[in-house]
Structures are given as C-alpha cells and as structure tokens.
Symmetry: C2
Subunit: 341 residues, 2 copies
DNA sequence: ATTAGCACTCGAAACGAAAGAGTGCTAAAT
DNA sequence: ATTTAGCACTCTTTCGTTTCGAGTGCTAAT
C-alpha cells in the first residue's frame, strides 16, 4: 500500500487524535495539524475510507481509524521515540532492586509494565527446555518434612516441601542427596519423568520405598522448572478505558486465563516490538484490544516475552518504546545473572 | 430491637428477595411468601421503614433493606445452613492437595473462597510475632550466589538468594552456617533487627566484611517471617454485580491495596463469622460492600483471618457457611502441620 | 386486625423536536 | 488539476413530553 505523504500525515493525525480523545476526529482538527483546508482533508479522508484505512461511525460523524488503519500506522508511520531519560532510570531502578532470582525479577517487571503503560501486562519466563540439573539439595524443615531444592543450569531454583511418615535423620537425607545427585546431575531437567524415576527406583532395590515422597517433590519441581510460566499484572487497568465495557473486560480476562492460547500469542519474532491489533488476535473477545509483544534474549538466545494488552486505541509509540527498552534491559540483566553462575 | 414474628418474616423475605433479584421487592411477592394479603404487608413494611430497617428508593417503588435492616437480618434472623456435603468435600480436596507449607495452603484457600462465594477473598497469614528461629540453612546456587533459608518454629520457611563478590567455597558456607545458627537458634525472629546484627557483626571482627550479603538476606527473610501477609484473590468477581459501577470497583480495589487498613478490618473476634456491612467498614468507598470475616485458630490460638468482600447485597447465609467451615478446616490443617514438626 | 378497592405517584420507556457537529457536493479560485 | 469556500444535508445527542405500569397509601368494608 502506497500512500501520498499527505495521506500519511492525515492518517497519522486521525490515529493520534483518536488515541488521545477517544472521540471520532473531524476534518477541522486534522486540517489545522496538516495545514490545508478542511475540505481538502475531507476529500482525502474519503479516499482513505475507500482504501479501508479509516471508518466512519455514521455519516456526519468524524473519522476513526480502522484496524487496517492502525496496522498501517504501526507498520509504516509511527515513530518510536527513545524512552525518556528519567523513565529509563526508573526502569533500571526496578530491575536492579531486589532479589537475584529470575522469577522475582520478572514479577517486578510485570508490575512495572502494567504501571508504565496503564494496560494489562503479561510476562513469560524463560522456558527450561534445555535446562540441566545442576544440583539437588535437601534441607530438613521439621522432624518428618524436608525441602527439596532443584537448581538448574538456567539459574532457576524450585523448591518443594515433602512429608515422610518416618523420621528424617541426617543419615537418610545424606542418602537422598547422594542418590539424587548421582543419578541426575548434568541430565536434562526435561528428562525427569515418572517413567525415568521408575527406572531409577528399580535400580535402588528396597530403598525405593523410602523415596516416594522426595521423588514426587522432585517431579513437581522439575515440571515447574521446565515449563514456561506466565506472570500477569495490571488487569485492573483495563477498567480505565470506557470503550471496554464491564462485560467485555470480564471476557477479556477470561481469555487471558487460557494459558495455552495466551502463550501462543506471545510466540513472536524476537528483536523488535510486534504488535497485534484487534481481530488479528484471533479471538472475538479480544477484537477491541491490541497486544504488544517484545521477546527478550538471554545470552543471545530467544528466551521469553514481555507483553502489554490494552485497548485497540492504545498509545502504540509509547508502549513500543517502553517494551523495547525494558526487554533489552531484562535480557541484559538475566544474562548477567546467568553468566555469574 | 424487638420485632413481632411477622415483621421478622417480612424483613427476611425482603432481604432474601432483594439479594436474589437486585430489584426492590414489592408487597405482593412478600405477601405470597408470608401468607397474608399485600395490604397487610404494606402496613407492616411502612412500620419497618419507621424503624429504619427498610428503605424505599421512591414512593411507588418496592422496598429495599437498609443497612440496619441487613444488620438485624444478619444478627438475629438468618440461619446459617451447614455446608452441603459435596461442597465440604470440595473444600477438603483443596486443603489436602498440594504443598506442605502454610503460605501455599492459604493461597489455595484464597482462590477457593473467591470461587465459592463469587466475591473477592482476603486471607491473612499467621503472624510470626512469636516465631523463633529453628535453623538457618545455606545452599549454594552458583559460584558466587547462595540461598539462605530461614526456618521458624511456626513452620514457615523463607528463602533469599544473595550474591557475594567473592567465590563461595564450602568452607565459607560452613562458617556462615556456624555463625548464624550459633547466634540465632532459639531466638525470636522478631529480634533480628539491623541493630542486633550490628552487634553480632562487632563480635565477629574481621570476618564481618564477608557477611554483609547474607546478613541483608537474613534481615529480609526475618521481616518476611514476622510480618503478616495478606493474600487476595477474585477481585474480578466484583465486576459481576451491576450495582457496583466500574468506577466503584476501581475505588474498592484501591482501598484493598491499603494493606494496613485492610489488616485492621480483619482484626475481629475469633470463633464466629463476623460481618461488617457497608458504612460499618468506615470507608466511603466501601459503603456499598460488606465484609465477612472468620478468624482461624492454630493450636487453639487466634492466628489469622479468612475474609470475603462483596456487595452489601451478599448472600450472607451462604458466605457465612462457607467461611465457617473453611476456617475450621484451615485451623485444623495448619495445626496438624505444626504438630508434626 | 385484616383485606379489597382505587386513586395516585413516580420512574422507565417511548417519542418527537431542536441543536449541533461534521459531512458531501458544487462551483469558484488558484 | 488542485484546492478551497459555501451551503444543504445527515445523523447523533439532548431535552422535554407523553405514556405505561408497578407499586403504593388510604379508605371503607369485613
């Protein structure tokens, strides 16, 4: 689609105007911005409607961008400003405050994104597909309970408390430690399956009966390590947009609870902010929303995604700027965390 | 306030009718239920208005319970049915599934309450005021990072990962272990303050310089152990009630974010379900909501609270039944967990 | 003390007119 | 060939009016 420069300016003006006000934009307001008469603007806008880039709620109303119009704007017209110095500093502050584990970091990032964009934020944690078992630790927590900690090569730590119906002596815990680390160290976490543990069990002979509880805990922790987790925050921000009715919001949130579908949407090309507009999201419930996704890299490898869900009438340049900066910083920080190991 | 039995039946009928429909209740509907003519009901309702137990949105509309009317209903008229067998079983299933740590359990309970009542749920964890340090464990997680785990006598475990700018040898971790457990075991967790750690530091001499990071981690973990935590869930359920406008919901949720105020509201008498109605909550933003609180006991001691926040037009008997049963079971379960230690 | 009957009240829904923002089109100007 | 001024037209919004009906309050009969 090739537009004359003036049509581009008019389309941009309609988009920014509508994003700001939420009201259809009249030819007069656009004319002032573009510097031609309102009649000219009207003629041009009529053609933009022909092209399917604008819409008219009804004759004699102003114009509103169509979803294709937003697409054109996002793909070719908008400029993503660099993040303001002070905002960038605020982001960094959040990143470097607090704990040293990836999941905690990403949780803070999720809240940050929600706050900075006034939208709902979704963050996916790195998948642990390729993670290997670094070590398994046992810590006694009471006479008959202990905590199992599974540490992986990707820096995650997952713990589970388990309960045995016999007293856990130091002796027994040492045995657990020896057996688990002996069999597992260096293995792919993804290999820890019920079948695999069955196999381990057989080789243990009678000792196996003692190890049911820790094995269940291990399995659980492994599943947790391998899987991608979705963190969400700021869902309430969607209530701020009058074009999203209460019922709409409820439906949107229901869709967000379908983890598989959401995870699918986050699978975008890494390297830039990808934006999905309205019906492009493939769900009628989300037809009035847009999703901006930016994947982050850890050690140069695609690892996870940061995303923002808001109304179609979203401030795309602002959101893109935030996502771009934050995903870059998240990637760097996580890489450092990992390198350090 | 003494009401004739018939007035009681009429008030009950108005409350249940209004709770069910959300519409003002007319004399005809009540008449059918109570078995007298609508004119009689109208006369009685007029007196109930005099008494301040009912309200009339306008002449020629049906009646609506006033907040005092709800109060009367809740205090004297409603009967709390025992929880249905199957519901009780569902609750138990949630309690006994999953992990063995109190916080995890209470999180599940929170979700459960939200789902079962279609309201927002708030759960406070037991305070660790009186907790003593059972042990401090260190687990190496990478060359220069380790996890500190603080286990308390109340069964909680809080962990923090910390980072040192020197390599953590086994030797060093053993020293950490000896020092921390030597100085802390058996002490009140609440005593772990910056000042106290300063004191410990002085007695360590030069070794102190190594211990900054783990001490900060410890402090953080201790704060976490001592403090009461508020878990919340199902905030979105409030969107289901048309009488709560979008803006109202937003304000309500803002108030819920004020942890101190919320914690204050949960400080009720243990032993029964306490219900606060509308303005009794002391915040104009909450004037259209009610809170039902039930505190749970661990080892016979008041420990924490389960609560449900919904519209004033709440199904009080149902909510009370759920809370009563769940808080009983939570108390039992946590007590067992603790005893086992 | 209760109830039937009935006029009355008040909000909600339906309708219509007026106002106003913004358009589309035509003809003049550049 | 573009651009613009001018003007009639369209469609929503707003506001006042009317209508309708649920539900009441009161009175008189039971």
């Amino acid at each position: 689609m090739v537009l004359t420069p003036r049509k581009e300016r008019i389309l941009s003006s309609v988009v920014t105007g509508y994003v700001k006000s939420g009201e259809p934009v009249g030819s007069k307001a656009v004319a002032e911005e573009v510097g031609v008469s309102s009649a000219t603007v009207r003629n041009e806008m009529a053609e933009l409607i022909e092209l399917g880039l604008l819409e008219q709620p009804h004759t004699s109303a102003g114009r509103v961008p169509s979803q294709r119009g937003y697409r054109e704007y996002v793909d070719r017209l908008m400029e993503v400003p660099p993040l303001k110095e002070e905002s960038a500093r605020a982001v960094d502050a959040v990143l470097f405050s607090g704990s040293y584990d990836p999941e905690g970091l990403l949780e803070r990032v999720c809240r940050l994104l929600a706050g900075a964009t006034r939208c709902a934020a979704v963050v996916s944690t790195p998948s642990g597909d390729s993670a290997q078992v670094r070590a398994v630790q046992f810590v006694q927590t009471s006479r008959r309970t202990a905590m199992l900690i599974l540490m992986s090569s990707t820096g995650t730590m997952k713990s589970r408390v388990f309960h045995c119906d016999f007293d856990l002596t130091n002796e027994i815990l040492r045995v657990f430690f020896r057996v688990f680390n002996g069999k597992l160290a260096g293995r792919n976490v993804a290999d820890i399956t019920p079948a695999f543990l069955q196999g381990v069990g057989v080789s243990l002979g009678q000792m196996y009966v003692l190890m049911g509880a820790p094995m269940r805990a291990l399995l659980d922790a492994a599943r947790d390590t391998v899987g991608t987790h979705l963190l969400m925050g700021g869902q309430m921000n969607l209530l701020f947009y009058p074009e999203l009715e209460q019922t709409d919001v409820r439906q949107i949130l229901d869709v967000l609870e379908e983890r598989e579908h959401l995870a699918e949407l986050l699978r975008q090309r890494p390297g830039q902010v990808e934006i999905l507009i309205g019906r492009e999201l493939g769900r009628p419930e989300l037809a009035n929303t847009s999703l901006a996704v930016s994947r982050y890299l850890v050690e140069g490898q695609d690892a996870g995604a940061l995303a923002v869900l808001g109304p179609v009438r979203m401030d795309y340049p602002q959101v893109a700027a935030v996502l771009q900066y934050v995903s870059g910083q998240v990637g760097k920080t996580l890489t450092t965390l990992l390198r350090d190991q």
